[in-house]
């Protein structure tokens, strides 16, 4: 349900003309809710930023998501995160 909530909040904000990007742990739900930009992550529920106290991994995830914000391509964008 968290993924539906994130997608809906993102969509409402986007409608207010502020660009959004969201993380997702459940591609199936995100595909159905269709928020504008999502980065799908290979982690368990409760671990969207990967690992506790792993700033390097957390930064990689954030960078990959911010890249979607800068992507001028067609929306929606649903991308899988590939750890470096």
């Amino acid at each position: 349900m968290c993924h539906q909530s994130v997608g809906l909040i993102a969509s409402v904000i986007e409608k207010a003309q502020i660009p959004t990007v969201s993380l997702s742990l459940l591609k199936m739900v995100t595909k159905r809710v269709r928020p504008p930009r999502s980065l799908c992550l290979p982690f368990g529920f409760g671990y969207p930023l990967g690992k506790p106290n792993d700033a390097k991994l957390q930064h990689q995830i954030i960078r990959a998501a911010l890249n979607l914000l800068e992507d001028p391509g067609e929306l929606p964008i649903l991308k899988e995160f590939a750890p470096v």
């Binding site: 349900m1 909040i9 409402v12 207010a16 993380l23 409760g46 930023l49 954030i62 929306l75």
Partner: protein, 161 residues
């Protein structure tokens, strides 16, 4: 390990598979109008985080508590509490490092490096377990969108739990 539907109890899984997920029409979508290094960013988490001084989310609210809490940009993330009703949200990691669901310290580092211009003076938290999202869509999310517009936020980063 990736989150899979198989990881959650069968009753929850059947519910998710049969659930009529909602959508909001946001087309054509918004675009950044300047480089990120000149942007003001705000964060939104649905991990049910709140300040100790704020009323916790109501985990018994039928259909899910659709309210939100404002988190000041000056908050120490380790001081935040979590009130979330979903048993599928494993809070073990977030209790060790709240950045796992609300990565404010990481964004402070990006701000210090000049990768973003600045963080908004406030961020927002929802309790994401909302099975009846009507009032999330019609009331609380638009209210937050309006506050972010008022603040001049240029982009928003959202994190599920």
């Amino acid at each position: 390990m990736m989150a899979r539907l198989e990881d959650i109890p069968l009753t929850h899984r059947l519910f998710v598979e049969a659930y009529p997920f909602r959508t909001v029409d946001w087309s054509p979508g918004a675009r950044l109008v300047k480089p990120l290094s000149q942007c003001r960013l705000a964060l939104i988490t649905t991990a049910g985080m709140h300040l100790t001084s704020q009323v916790p989310f109501d985990t018994d609210f039928r259909g899910g508590d659709f309210s939100f809490r404002e988190l000041p940009n000056t908050v120490n993330v380790s001081d935040l509490k979590i009130s979330h009703r979903s048993s599928d949200f494993d809070q073990t990691g977030a209790r060790k490092d709240a950045n796992l669901v609300f990565p404010l310290d990481r964004f402070r580092e990006l701000e210090a490096q000049g990768q973003i211009a600045e963080l908004n003076h406030r961020h927002f938290s929802f309790m994401g377990s909302i099975s009846a999202p009507g009032r999330l869509i019609s009331e609380s999310a638009p209210k937050v969108a309006q506050m972010l517009r008022h603040d001049g936020a240029d982009a928003v980063f959202l994190v599920p739990a």
